[in-house]
């Protein structure tokens, strides 16, 4: 019944135990003097009277000790668990049932504590809300599970829609030379051409070449060869960087639309000077970088 005692008022209980100990001590001294008697000292004339007086004094001490103990006991709040009719188990005298009530009270205490502690835990945990971003993303992803499985017709209609919104100077042709992957051949006026390989609606590969360079070799689209000219090799490099920037599997349509809008800004590759230095040439190259948001032209070294 350790749990039981832990519920008691510690100060009062200690005081009660102390008075019990002094009471036992006094009683012990009393019985000791009763058995051993009192040795004669000094006058020795009134042996009996002295013995009686001594005994009386000790009995008074014991009596006051008993009173003190009773008071202390009354002060201790008894936190007796009342388990209703189960209390009758305590009066069962068969040895098997002797400890039943005791363990019943123990388990009652355990459940009581459990309820109490879990109550504290709930308040603490609700104060420190554990919001994990992954949980939120997982929910969104569940809403758009289709980026991995897009029908060719959907791709065509998205591309056509984007192409129309970009104006007359852009021509986008779609091919599917290797099954389901779509290959876009983009012609930007008389300035440059590009090949964009899509996986579903996501951009996988970009190559940029000059307007006079051939994109089709031996009847096949040459998607691995580099441009002869440095400026288009640089633009290819930047287009690949932009492709990674715009990559977003959750919104594939938005990604390809943004990428193609950005790509379209290269119509002014040779005409518009750098936004920062105001010149056309830097390191013998025109401004080959276009800002990803504002589409402003910048040289490789003038990038903000």
């Amino acid at each position: 019944m350790a749990d039981h005692s832990s519920k008691l008022d510690i100060v009062q209980a200690t005081a009660a135990l102390k008075s019990l100990r002094s009471l036992r001590n006094n009683v012990g001294t009393l019985f000791h003097s009763l058995t051993e008697g009192i040795g004669l000292q000094l006058g020795q004339d009134s042996k009996e009277s002295r013995f009686v007086a001594e005994l009386q004094q000790q009995l008074v001490t014991v009596q006051s000790g008993v009173k003190e103990f009773e008071e202390a006991i009354n002060n201790v709040d008894s936190v007796q668990v009342n388990l209703g009719n189960s209390g009758h188990l305590n009066q069962d005298c068969t040895p098997d049932a002797l400890h039943l009530y005791e363990s019943l009270v123990t388990s009652y205490r355990w459940t009581d504590n459990l309820t109490e502690y879990s109550g504290y835990a709930t308040t603490l945990l609700s104060q420190n809300a554990l919001k994990r971003s992954t949980l939120i993303h997982a929910k969104r992803r569940r809403l758009q599970p289709s980026s991995q499985n897009v029908a060719p017709q959907t791709i065509d209609s998205v591309i056509n829609q984007v192409c129309r919104s970009l104006g007359d100077n852009v021509k986008i042709e779609t091919f599917r030379p290797y099954g389901s992957s779509t290959v876009l051949q983009i012609t930007l006026g008389k300035i440059m051409k590009g090949i964009v390989v899509l996986k579903r609606l996501m951009v996988e590969w970009v190559v940029v070449k000059g307007a006079t360079e051939e994109l089709i070799e031996d009847g096949k689209i040459d998607m691995w060869g580099e441009s002869r000219y440095k400026v288009f090799r640089k633009v290819t490099e930047n287009a690949n960087a932009a492709m990674l920037h715009f990559y977003s599997p959750a919104y594939p349509e938005l990604a390809i639309r943004s990428f193609l809008t950005w790509f379209n800004s290269y119509q002014s590759l040779f005409t518009s000077p750098c936004k920062k230095c105001g010149h056309h040439l830097h390191n013998l190259l025109p401004p080959t970088w276009r800002d990803l948001r504002t589409l402003d032209p910048y040289h490789e070294d003038c990038k903000p």
């Binding site: 400026v231 005409t271 056309h280 040439l281 013998l284």
Partner: protein
């Protein structure tokens, strides 16, 4: 296959042709250009014999940039227009067979030769023009290979040319290019410009 701009560089007084070429070479190299061989463009003119009626000229040009081709430019009967023919090397031999109809004008073979530089996507050719033994002047050819549309890249070419030629580069493109500002230009447009310049050299005496 890009835009070719041919620019006359006036030889300053008291300087010889080779001195000017050397000066320009230094400037071009300072811009980051790399010497890559030399070049030559030559032009020979044939005129028709009396049996063909009104006299007409055929100009035969060779360009070391396109070594397998011969350019034959026939002056049209009316106006300043020319009819261009791009043929194989054998055309030179055919011209010899046609000597009954077209005869070579004497002492009119003119050529421009000099060093050739590559600077990024630019090609720079510094040519000294000579007619026979006489030095006539300096022609600078700048080609931007990456773009064939003058309307798009003229400003770019002008900025590059001003970088080493200085103030002699006009802000408006040459008349020949202005007339074809929105077209895709090719090798033949370079040849036409050379012919224009060569004709102007022939008309002037002394150094231009």
């Amino acid at each position: 296959m890009g835009v070719i701009v041919l620019q006359l560089f006036a030889v300053p007084d008291g300087k010889s042709g080779p001195q000017v070429i050397e000066m320009l070479t230094k400037r071009v190299i300072a811009l980051g250009a790399v010497l890559s061989g030399s070049f030559i463009v030559d032009c020979e003119t044939y005129s028709s014999t009396a049996s063909l009626g009104a006299p007409r000229s055929v100009h035969l040009l060779h360009n070391s940039e396109t070594p397998a081709s011969v350019f034959a430019l026939l002056e049209a009967a009316s106006g300043n227009k020319t009819v261009a023919l791009v043929a194989d090397n054998l055309f030179d031999l055919l011209m010899l067979k046609l000597s009954n109809f077209y005869t070579a004008k004497k002492q009119t073979k003119i050529e421009s030769r000099g060093p050739r530089f590559e600077a990024g996507d630019f090609l720079v050719k510094l040519g000294s023009v000579t007619m026979g033994p006489a030095f006539k002047g300096i022609l600078v050819e700048v080609e931007y290979q990456a773009c064939s549309l003058p309307a798009a890249c003229w400003d770019l070419i002008r900025e590059f040319m001003q970088g080493f030629l200085g103030g002699c580069v006009p802000s408006t493109p040459p008349q020949y290019i202005q007339n074809r500002f929105g077209d895709m230009l090719g090798t033949i447009d370079g040849i036409n410009q050379y012919l224009e310049q060569f004709n102007a050299f022939r008309k002037t005496t002394g150094i231009r």
